[in-house]
């Protein structure tokens, strides 16, 4: 397939946007910090006001890094799903991975009182992460089990959708029996947040992120063969079971860990691969994968910059922003192209 060379203009634009948005993202926030002070802080100058140092180093930079990982991880996961399922509507969430994470968190936050186990309460942060990870892992195991028996990609998509419904049902039952404040906590998690992430959590997240990314890039060649469908891929020497397994593992590590840490983020995984495909007019995954990494990061930084509402006291839920931007984009693509192609 064509080399990435002919897309160098797009890559340069994305790269520049990424750096620019990263700086803008750190510079803006509810507290106004001059750019000069920000640069001093990043360069390790500790004569700057201590509160500012804290805001930049322990809040805004981890948040920006989390945004980059979330956007790129979900975009790559979405791209892999769309190619694997030969379905332009596939995304990491269609597999039910985020539903699994939500279910885990719902059990953790709401389950306590609904099941009469209010004594079983672990400090907020870590419990949520663990519960979300366990939930997504459980769903992944079931999906993998089904994938080894059912060879039909469409069946897997339907199973993912069913998990979504099942989760919604269980969550509403739990919600019915839960006190208001617990319900509120669950709702806040489900809005998604990039801001609550500590450096410790960020290190764990990066670990999962890099493992997922390495796995994802290791199947890039197979993904290209899969563009021709399963039968053709097999006759091109692709081991279908092995590739499918690696793709599912990579997706669940990426989407599972990211959902656990930042909450369910909608539309990034679905919309970014489509935007990149349209803009780059490429099908080669050696072009699409790095482009989705950059594109996802750019989109997420942009959404987060909007969400934190510069100079306002509050920030909007990130999940709402990604949906408000993502949904019209998908509709616009559909109207313009009449047909979404994977």
């Amino acid at each position: 397939m064509n080399s990435t060379g002919k897309h160098s203009v797009q890559f340069v634009i994305l790269g520049t946007l990424l750096i620019l948005l990263f700086v803008v993202n750190i510079a803006l926030g509810s507290v106004l910090i001059p750019l000069k002070a920000i640069i001093q802080i990043i360069l390790g100058d500790d004569t700057v006001k201590e509160a500012w140092q804290y805001i930049i180093l322990d809040y805004r930079i981890p948040k920006a890094l989390a945004a980059i990982m979330t956007g790129s991880g979900l975009a790559v996961a979405g791209l892999m799903m769309q190619t694997l399922f030969k379905n332009p509507l596939a995304g990491p969430f269609v597999l039910g991975i985020s539903s699994g994470a939500s279910l885990g968190v719902a059990f953790f936050i709401l389950g306590g009182s609904a099941l009469g186990l209010s004594a079983f309460v672990v400090p907020n942060g870590w419990g949520t992460i663990l519960a979300a990870s366990l939930g997504s892992f459980a769903v992944l195991s079931i999906v993998l089990l089904v994938a080894s028996r059912v060879r039909d990609a469409m069946a897997l998509l339907i199973i993912g959708l069913m998990f979504g419904s099942l989760t919604a049902a269980v969550v509403s039952i739990l919600a019915y029996f839960s006190p208001a404040e617990e319900l509120q906590r669950y709702m806040f998690w489900s809005f998604g947040s990039l801001g609550d992430i500590s450096w410790d959590a960020l290190i764990i997240l990066s670990f999962c992120y890099f493992i997922g990314m390495i796995l994802a890039f290791s199947v890039t060649k197979s993904l290209n063969s899969l563009l021709l469908g399963d039968h053709y891929a097999q006759t091109l020497g692709v081991s279908l079971q092995k590739s499918r397994f690696i793709i599912l593992i990579a997706t669940s590590i990426l989407a599972g860990s990211l959902t656990a840490f930042v909450g369910p983020i909608a539309f990034v995984g679905l919309a970014v691969p489509h935007l990149i495909r349209q803009w780059f007019t490429a099908s080669n995954h050696w072009t699409l994968m790095p482009a989705c990494v950059l594109g996802g990061a750019v989109l997420m930084l942009f959404c987060d910059t909007l969400a934190q509402m510069p100079l306002f006291e509050f920030s909007l839920p990130i999940n709402a922003i990604t949906s408000i931007i993502g949904a019209p984009v998908v509709i616009w693509l559909l109207i313009r192209k009449k047909k979404l192609l994977f």
């Binding site: 397939m1 064509n2 080399s3 190619t83 030969k86 890039t220 060649k221 290209n224 063969s225 563009l227 021709l228 469908g229 399963d230 039968h231 053709y232 097999q234 006759t235 091109l236 020497g237 692709v238 081991s239 495909r277 007019t281 099908s283 080669n284 050696w286 047909k339 192609l341 994977f342």
Partner: protein
């Protein structure tokens, strides 16, 4: 040529079909075929006779109920997928192919078995890709996306992809469905030319018995769950085409090799 009669793909006592739970449903049984180097063979039979099932089994995409398929001399089941990919290529219909691919990208994917893990094309790969595009007369459409191609052009692109894979054996499933007579004839004549000039072994299924009768070196007729392989001339004389269609609605004239409606 010393290897003129070299048999590249063969089967012995092959039964194909599918498994429905514990039950095995056999569609075609006791298939003993042998495809020689440099020959163009067509497989014909009525709808549902098992042509596609047999073709998929021969390609190793589906397990046989019993018997085995030999690619050169090794059982296809035991061959490593990457080695097999350098010996046998397919052209299939009804696959989920990304129509965003350009013709060049689609054809280039035929080189996947030869490239390294990065999928980078060598000079040799590029020569094969260009030759395949030239042979199928797609030069002008090289950079067109597949969704903008006509059915006939897309079919040619799929054939070009198989050619780029540079395998000795090419199996095609209904490559002329939805095409008009002109394009049907041009696809079959292309396949025959490739088989003869590039010494490939080509097997294609088809509905157009009249058309392929005049163009095939050999034919494989699937009838009542049995497969008969012979030259078009011998098959015509054997009278198998008269019995091919049920209910005596359609007859066959041996003189001019044409079907007629009674």
């Amino acid at each position: 040529m010393s290897d003129f009669n070299k048999i590249l793909l063969s089967s012995s006592k092959l039964s194909v079909g599918y498994k429905n739970g514990q039950e095995k449903i056999i569609i075609v049984e006791d298939v003993n075929l042998s495809l020689k180097k440099g020959t163009f063979t067509t497989m014909v039979g009525i709808n549902g006779s098992g042509k596609s099932t047999l073709l998929r089994t021969l390609a190793g995409l589906q397990n046989p109920i019993s018997g085995e398929v030999l690619l050169e001399k090794s059982p296809i089941k035991t061959l490593d997928a990457e080695i097999k990919a350098k010996q046998l290529s397919v052209v299939l219909t009804g696959q989920y192919i990304s129509k965003n691919l350009t013709v060049l990208e689609l054809v280039s994917l035929g080189r996947q078995p030869y490239t390294n893990w990065l999928g980078k094309l060598s000079e040799e790969d590029k020569v094969h890709i260009l030759n395949a595009i030239n042979a199928t007369e797609l030069e002008a459409l090289k950079n067109t996306a597949c969704h903008a191609l006509s059915d006939g052009q897309f079919q040619r692109a799929l054939i070009a992809r198989a050619l780029a894979q540079n395998t000795e054996v090419i199996l095609l499933d209904e490559p002329t469905t939805h095409l008009d007579l002109h394009h049907k004839a041009s696809i079959f004549s292309l396949l025959k030319t490739i088989a003869h000039e590039q010494q490939k072994t080509i097997l294609s299924t088809s509905h157009d018995i009249e058309l392929v009768l005049g163009m095939s070196d050999e034919m494989l007729v699937i009838h009542n769950g049995k497969a008969t392989q012979d030259t078009p001339k011998n098959l015509t004389e054997s009278g198998i085409f008269e019995q091919l269609f049920p209910d005596n609605i359609i007859g066959f004239n041996k003189e001019n090799q044409r079907f007629f409606i009674r």
